[in-house]
């Protein structure tokens, strides 16, 4: 398992290639990549800023991912998350999970990305030409949080 916060550009497919080769015996690898979109609600995004709580953020994500690795019997999991300033088009997050069969890897990726949206100590601010605005989880994010907690 590897959970890292990075403050500069990373290349998701390069990281995936490594993850794939480290898990050569896994029949199933599911992934999710989130990127900074160039537009939001009709406005051009000039940057995203991601605040984090040093140590605590890594610790909280690691604990959660470790639990998922056990409960879903994953062979391995990888979370790379950007912090600091992010430009449009750049990757924000990569989640990858390896397992014997697809159901576990797919469910684990979904659960981890849902967790990151509402429960990881990260704070996202979107900067547009009309100023900066803090992003809060959507109603759907909270619904998924509730259903995730109910299932666990």
């Amino acid at each position: 398992m590897r959970v890292v916060l990075v403050d500069c550009i990373f290349e998701p497919t390069t990281e995936l290639k490594l993850f794939e080769s480290e898990n050569a015996n896994s029949g199933a690898i599911a992934t999710f990549m989130g990127r900074c979109r160039p537009r939001t609600s009709g406005e051009d995004v000039t940057a995203l800023e991601l605040q984090h709580y040093p140590n605590f953020t890594e610790q909280q994500i690691s604990r959660f991912v470790q639990d998922i690795c056990c409960s879903k019997r994953l062979h391995d999991a990888l979370v790379i998350h950007r912090v600091g300033a992010i430009s449009p088009g750049e990757a924000i997050v990569l989640v990858a999970c390896a397992s014997d069969h697809r159901a576990e890897a797919l469910a684990a990726v979904e659960t981890i990305i849902d967790f990151l949206k509402t429960d990881a100590p990260l704070w996202k601010r979107e900067v547009t030409n009309n100023g900066a605005q803090w992003v809060e989880p959507t109603a759907l994010d909270y619904q998924r949080q509730i259903s995730r907690i109910a299932k666990s």
């Binding site: 989130g34 610790q59 997050v93 990151l116 509402t118 990881a120 100590p121 704070w123 803090w134 809060e136």
Partner: protein, 81 residues
């Protein structure tokens, strides 16, 4: 104790983030009351939905005990991913 602010709440009281404060508060709730008296912007920020608090890097509820050595972090709604 050390005070940390994350997310929108930091904008309300940037000058208080990552500072050492001297307070006799024995719980998070007492500390919040004490901070509200000196800072109206922070008081309003505490009222917003979704506020979370961690003491010494553990999520706790507002009745949690604190000491002069505690690290207390107030957080606006989390939004990673």
């Amino acid at each position: 104790m050390r005070l940390l602010l994350f997310g929108q709440i930091r904008d309300s009281a940037e000058h208080l983030h990552d500072t050492e404060i001297i307070s006799s508060a024995r719980s998070v709730r007492e500390l919040m009351g004490w901070l509200c008296q000196s800072d109206a912007d922070l008081a309003r920020a505490f009222d917003r939905a979704g506020l979370r608090v961690a003491v010494d890097q553990c999520f706790v509820d507002f009745d949690a005990a604190i000491t002069p050595q505690s690290e207390v972090a107030f957080m606006s709604p989390l939004s990673g991913g």
